[in-house]
Amino acid sequence: MKRNLRTVLRYAAALLVAASILGPMLWLFLMSVSSTSDLTRVPLEWLPRQWDFSRYLRLVSLQPDEPGALFLHALWNSVLVACGATLISLLLAIPAAFSFSRYPGRDGWLFGSLAIYMVPPVAFVLPLYFVLQQVGLLNTHLGLVLVYCSLILPFLTWMLKNQFDALPRDIEQAARLDGLRFWQVLLRITLPLAKPMLGASALFGWLLAWDEFFYALLFTSNIEAQTLPVTIAGFTAGRATDDGLIAAVGILASVPPLFIAIWLQKTLVSGLASGGSKG
């Protein structure tokens, strides 16, 4: 009897958690495929009388006067900036993480980078704004890519260092005795061994850039460089816009990170513990 009750409670709790997670997200999807008249009906019928996917079509069309142009530009900017920032950060973080891992004794620098990465961005934003303005990098991809390195670099270095720490050293030492230079050891031995985890960490960094809003809001001003989060926030600021359309943009913007997260399941926890919380 007691056992049955426990089982029932367990399933009830599981259903409650599942519903509370899926509910709001399903509503977003339903909004994107319902007509305004279906949405404003009281009492609400929840499922649309007419499933309407036209908003998605409008978002991927390049016709003038359609929101597609705005959306596709933002999508392109987001992809470009996230990939650029991740690549540059990888190039700098790999040697740094290797150094922290193989030549111990400089951990203060690592902890310092990690600490400063947690300082609120409002403490950096004004000087960065003035500098970008002076060198003409406001509202450019390159400007955002550079600023995003400050977010991805410490995080990536930290994660990679932990991975390098877990690798066996004896092969490396043997290679060093055979006369390989240290950077040859890094490229030929350490990196191939760390490859699977390298990809996961890079994706983590990519997610941080995909998610960033504050700098993007202040350092971009139009479709030249505006990323998806800024475009979505801009949509919601408008008064007489079609909310279903905003919902559709939100759904599309969420597809890449949701897939990446499900794919990263296994390595998620180590990334979270090193501060990649995307708060």
């Binding site: 958690v17 509503w27 973080a93 740094a96 600490a115 409002v122 809003f213 979505i232 499900i262």
Partner: protein
């Protein structure tokens, strides 16, 4: 001729230098400049002249500004309550996901989704859910008979901050869940078996086995969450813009407005530095924890 040790030492720095230089230029240098700005009356848009030195004026003004004090209290309230609830729900859901039941693996994937959802999409999603004319929250609560008519949740100062907190809690308790669950899974089953054979009660088993195992990851999760919640900006910007009647104007939003809406860069910088100092306390706490953890793991290896 350099000794081997000197060569190694030099190599270590060569590998580190690019990362440290980039980090310095993007964080330490701007932080220094912000401190300098905070002693001036600089404007965001060039007013022709160079900014003038005003000494501690910005800070004296900030510390006596009742709006700023209200914003600090509001942010602390938001942070403490959100993080506490995220901790409780996060641990409870982790304990649930550690049980054996049909569909557990699906639920483990579902819990990742709120964390992965872009912050801005989360904010916009809740804004639509709380919509006064056709939001799902209104529809659901009316149909269940809990409220008698549609309400403007984000439009009233009494409920706006709570609505924002709900959005933050929904998105972020999974972080606590994932970290705690990882720790729970590393507890060997026979520990529980032995305790059960010894006749320990469920509460006793939790206190003696489960809690000690999750206390470290839980504190890391809570400190990380506290730092993030303290900096909350994106959700506020999209859901309420600090309104209605400043009821959701948290620190980040306050500083943002001072610099970019009222264009007072000098005073905005002073507010930003004060906020960074408050954050610094939390960051120091996190660093101490990281060092402790590392010391423990190296102690375990030897």
């Amino acid at each position: 001729m350099l000794s081997l040790q000197q060569r190694e030492h030099r190599q270590a720095w060569v590998l580190l230098a690019p990362m440290l230089v980039v980090m310095f230029l993007l964080t330490a240098w701007p932080l220094g400049r912000t401190i300098w700005l905070s002693f001036t009356d600089a404007a965001l848009i060039g007013s022709g002249g160079a900014p003038g030195y005003v000494g501690l004026e910005n800070y004296l003004y900030a510390l006596t500004d009742p709006d700023f004090q209200a914003s600090i209290l509001r942010t602390l309230w938001f942070t403490v309550v959100s993080v506490a609830i995220e901790g409780v729900i996060g641990v409870l859901v982790a304990l649930l996901l550690n049980q054996r039941f049909y569909g557990r693996n699906i639920l483990r994937v579902l819990v990742i989704l709120p964390w992965a959802l872009p912050t801005i999409v989360n904010a916009m999603m809740w804004r639509l859910n709380f919509n006064p004319d056709y939001g799902s929250v209104n529809a659901l609560l009316t149909q269940l008979g809990i409220i008698d008519g549609y309400r403007s949740w984000l439009g009233s100062p009494d409920s706006a901050l709570n609505a924002v907190m709900l959005a933050d809690i929904w998105k972020n308790y999974p972080l606590v869940t994932l970290l705690v669950l990882a720790a729970l899974q590393s507890i060997p089953d026979d520990l529980f078996e032995a305790a059960r054979l010894d006749g320990a009660s469920a509460w006793r088993r939790f206190r003696a086995i489960t809690f000690p195992a999750i206390v470290a990851p839980l504190s890391v999760a809570l400190v990380l969450r506290t730092i993030d919640a303290f900096k909350i900006f994106d959700i506020i910007y999209v859901m309420t813009r600090g309104g209605p009647v400043d009821s959701t104007k948290t620190l980040s939003f306050f500083v943002y407005q001072e610099s970019f809406s009222y264009l007072r860069a000098g005073s905005g910088a002073a507010y930003a530095i004060l906020m960074a100092l408050m954050c610094g306390v939390l960051i120091t706490l996190y660093m101490i924890m990281l060092l402790r953890q590392r010391r423990r793991s190296t102690a375990n290896e030897t």
